[in-house]
């Protein structure tokens, strides 16, 4: 019996390979799922990022955010406190079993317990993308460089055409256009004449400098515990990302202080532990010196952020105030991130009052109280809003 005899009336066995692999519906819908994950990650970025320890990866400019698969919801009965089922095997009444390994959720895309398992995967996000998203989410304005005459770089811009110029700036397209125009009006035209030649002209323009420096000042006295430092660090990170978004070259200075102040590298900065009292002026003195020596206000947009619980020795008030006034005169902006000891003392601290009074006198200064991760976004938002108002 040949295979054709029974085609149609009885079964057919086709051993053939169509090109199934050319398109995969599963992969297509999986990609769509991932796209939705990205969208949802994007809309909850502030919470997501505030909640995870993302700052350590700052060097590589990418973040890995662990996400769960999206669930397509259906009506389901509430999980019962207890449930009956049927099983099979040598179990005798009274025997107790546990599923798989208790609580042993394997990390990194591994299989959870044996009960269906739950998968997680990591989404790799570019810090730059996140910052862009955040700016959209938080509806933040772009920073404005200071536009005083002192802070200008020169740049060359194209500006019109001329019949003379260096060979390298010959605009061929424009030249041919001129030739065509001329030939159209002549009876026996030459293909090209010297008069057709057009050269691009450049003009010197002055534009606001895009150099910037930011000084991060952290109070590392005993009262700044790890939780407060983490808040400060998170704020610093996002503030610097925001600045980086605006300034093509951003220099960072890291200063820690107790009753004296030191400059650190970025890596060391957040590891510092120290004991001692709080003399804020020591830090601002150091900022002033560093700015004076390396980043003077005629060449750099200056930003200063100070994170502290706000305590300062009363004796130090005048020294601090004098230095802050001096810095505020030159800086684009100076921000105080207060991580107070309890929820009720926001900005009633020594340093807090100092910043408030500068703010009241219209210096480009702001202060923000941060108790928890979620406050950071308000602080960042407030900073960038205020900063752009200052310039406007």
């Amino acid at each position: 019996m040949s295979p054709d005899d029974h085609a149609g009336t009885v079964s057919r066995m086709a051993v053939r390979n169509r090109l199934y692999d050319l398109f995969s519906r599963g992969a297509r819908d999986w990609l769509r799922h991932n796209e939705k994950v990205r969208e949802s990650v994007r809309s909850q970025l502030p919470e997501l990022i505030a909640g995870s320890d993302v700052l350590t990866g700052s060097g590589e400019r990418r973040l890995r955010v662990p996400v769960r698969f999206l669930e397509h919801y259906r009506f389901r009965l509430r999980d019962p406190h207890q449930e009956d089922g049927a099983g099979q095997g040598k179990g005798e009444p009274g025997d107790i079993y546990r599923r798989g390994q208790p609580g042993g959720d394997a990390e990194g895309g591994g299989r959870g317990g044996s009960g269906g398992g739950e998968y997680r995967f990591e989404l790799e996000l570019k810090v730059d993308d996140i910052v862009d998203w955040l700016w959209e989410e938080l509806a933040l304005p772009d920073l404005q460089p200071r536009s005083t005459d002192a802070l200008m770089d020169e740049e060359l811009v194209s500006e019109g055409w001329d019949r003379r110029g260096p060979r390298s700036r010959l605009d061929r397209r424009r030249t041919v256009k001129e030739a065509i125009k001329r030939r159209a009006s002549q009876t026996d035209p030459l293909p090209f004449t010297d008069d057709d030649l057009r050269y691009r002209q450049l003009a010197r323009r002055r534009r606001p400098s895009t150099n910037a420096v930011v000084a991060f000042v952290l109070d590392v006295s005993a009262s700044m515990d790890p939780a407060r430092r983490k808040l400060a660090k998170a704020f610093f990170f996002w503030a610097s990302q925001g600045l980086r978004r605006q300034y093509s070259s951003l220099e960072s200075v890291f200063i820690a202080h107790t009753n004296e102040a030191w400059e650190f590298s970025e890596e060391e900065f957040f590891q510092i532990t120290a004991t001692g009292g709080t003399v804020a002026s020591s830090a601002f003195q150091l900022v002033r010196d560093i700015f004076h020596d390396r980043y003077d206000a005629t060449n750099f947009n200056q930003y200063i952020f100070y994170a502290s619980d706000g305590d300062n020795f009363a004796d130090d008030r005048h020294a601090t105030e004098r230095l802050l006034l001096e810095l505020a005169g030159d800086a684009n902006f100076m921000g105080f991130v207060e991580t107070p000891q309890n929820h009720f003392e926001s900005s009633r601290s020594e340093t807090g009052r100092l910043f408030k009074s500068l703010e009241a006198r219209n210096f480009p200064v702001g202060s923000y109280t941060v108790h928890a991760d979620t406050d950071i976004w308000e602080a960042i938002r407030a900073f960038f809003r205020r900063q752009s108002e200052q310039v406007a």
Binding site: M1, H6, G8, T9, V10, S11, R12, M13, A14, V15, R16, N17, R18, Y20, D21, S24, R25, G26, A27, R28, D29, W30, L31, R32, H33, N34, K36, F69, L70, H72, Y73, R74, F75, R76, L77, R78, D79, H81, Q82, E83, D84, G85, A86, G87, Q88, G89, K90, G91, P93, G94, D95, I96, Y97, R98, R99, P102, G103, G109, R111, Y119
Partner: protein, 479 residues
């Protein structure tokens, strides 16, 4: 007649899937000799990746939706970790369409061929399958592909997000259909049917002469009362929304009806899983035993696969907290054939679904032989899950096996009322289900529905304490 291949070094090369073209008709002949009746089967050997998709989508070509992507990755990971192998997927119809994996061994595919014929016999003769097939049609694969195509067109013309919103809602309600009613239902009658036909039209009829009798004046016109909508609790949510949503566009209703039709198609597979898999396993074992044309090695390998498929426990374990439907169904059918005979077995195959099958034919002796037990899940002191073996009570066993199968595996939710302004009230039948809904998920589903219903929706259920709980969508509840 068994071929001996002994130590022939080329033996392996001979056993390729090409041989299936030779074996399949002979296995089929054997099946018909045993009285199996089935529509022809179109077998096709496909790559594993395609097989996974078929299993995940439930159909070879089906509408796109991101939730299938999630299932696909689960399946893919399971497969890559060696936890899951798919041997076949068969779609009942005329012809049936069966997919086999091209890089599975010849012995496995030979077994699967026999298995598929068992399914084909089941789906042709079982009444539930038959009823659904007559309603849905016999070409589900092509129909589903055509629907998928229409949905792709909708994506082109309406945009992906709009189509996705409709599918989010429709697919979430897949289980909320009423399989006791027809697939192709007429809308509710506009007015309550009048007691008798149009009276004036039948002048001279008995009715008119009767009314002429003294004291038999025409009854007063019944007061026009606003009809309750729906007239009775409506469990087919997909149908109700597709027909009565106040502002849905036609293409959106079309998607709802497409999802509903596929859900009707899947229902018998769901409701007869234990019977159907057991029947197919019974027949693959029996047909292979009698297939004397198979080389010894192929037969032995196939029987090894058989015992892997119908074994009660995974791997080396000696206890399992779930029951393998292949194993359970296979054992029940063996007992039925042995004790009641093949004619009776065929009748049961035609008349029952899993509910009747388990309640009538899983008896105490068999349950004891299979060491089935009831367990209770109780959290331990540290909150960890513990499963305590309770007893071997046969009534409890049957209900525990069947519990996940009631109402298509979902909660019983019906449309209680649709207001004049289009607001919708759904009610959860908490008395039947025994407890309330998972409220967080229910809210999400309500939000899915709201996007297509475009009016407020309320859902009545109970909370953890059994107190009435009303969930409501709000206009800004886009979530």
């Amino acid at each position: 007649m068994a071929h001996k291949h002994g130590h022939d070094p080329h033996a392996h090369a001979v056993f390729t899937n090409d041989r299936l073209e030779e074996y399949a008709p002979r296995i089929e002949g054997l099946a018909r000799d045993h009285g199996l009746e089935f529509y022809p089967v179109d077998f096709e050997l496909v790559p594993n990746t395609f097989m996974m998709e078929v299993a995940v989508y439930g159909l070879p070509v089906r509408m796109p939706h991101w939730s299938f992507g999630v299932r696909y990755i689960y399946q893919y990971v399971q497969h890559r970790m060696g936890h899951s192998r798919i041997f076949e997927v068969v779609f009942p119809g005329n012809p049936n369409r069966a997919y086999l994996v091209d890089d599975n061994a010849l012995a496995e595919n030979t077994l699967v061929t026999a298995h598929v014929l068992g399914h084909a016999d089941f789906s042709r003769n079982n009444q539930l399958f038959d009823r659904m097939q007559r309603q849905v049609g016999y070409h589900i694969v092509e129909q589903a592909a055509a629907r998928a195509n229409r949905i792709e067109e909708a994506i082109e013309s309406r945009g992906r997000n709009r189509v996705e919103a409709v599918l989010d809602a429709a697919l979430a309600l897949e289980q909320n259909i009423d399989t006791n009613r027809e697939l192709h239902r007429k809308p509710y009658p506009e007015k309550p049917p009048e007691k008798a036909g149009p009276r004036e039209a039948v002048e001279g009829s008995f009715e008119s002469r009767y009314r002429a009798l003294p004291g038999e004046a025409a009854p007063e016109k019944p007061v026009e009362r606003k009809r309750q909508m729906p007239p009775y609790p409506e469990y087919d949510l997909l149908w109700f929304i597709a027909l009565y949503a106040p502002e849905m566009e036609d293409w959106e209703r079309d998607i709802f009806l497409a999802v509903r039709e596929e859900s009707f198609y899947f229902y018998p597979v769901f409701a007869c899983q234990i019977m159907n898999e057991g029947w197919a396993s019974y027949w693959h074992a029996r047909l292979l035993r009698e297939a004397d044309f198979l080389p010894n090695q192929v037969y032995l390998d196939a029987i090894k696969t058989h015992s892997d498929v119908v074994r009660p426990y995974a791997g080396e374990e000696a206890v399992s907290l779930s029951i393998n439907p292949y194993h359970l169904g296979f054992c029940i059918w063996e007992q039925i054939v042995e004790e009641l005979g093949m004619d009776r077995a065929r009748q049961i195959r035609a008349e029952e679904d899993d509910f009747g099958f388990i309640r009538n034919h899983l008896d105490e002796d068999l349950a004891r032989k299979l060491k089935l037990f009831n367990y209770a899940r109780r959290p331990g002191t540290g909150g960890e899950e513990r499963f305590i073996v309770k007893d071997r009570n046969i009534h409890a066993l049957r209900e525990n096996i069947l519990a996940p199968k009631f109402n298509y595996g979902g909660p019983r939710i019906y449309v209680r009322a649709m207001n004049v302004n289009g607001d919708l009230t759904l009610t959860h039948d908490t008395a039947t289900d025994g407890r309330g809904l998972d409220l967080a998920r229910a809210r999400k589903v309500l939000n899915y529905i709201r996007r297509v219903w475009r009016r407020d929706i309320r859902l009545e259920t109970v909370d953890h304490a059994g107190e009435p709980k009303l969930l409501e969508t709000s206009a800004d509840g886009e979530d």
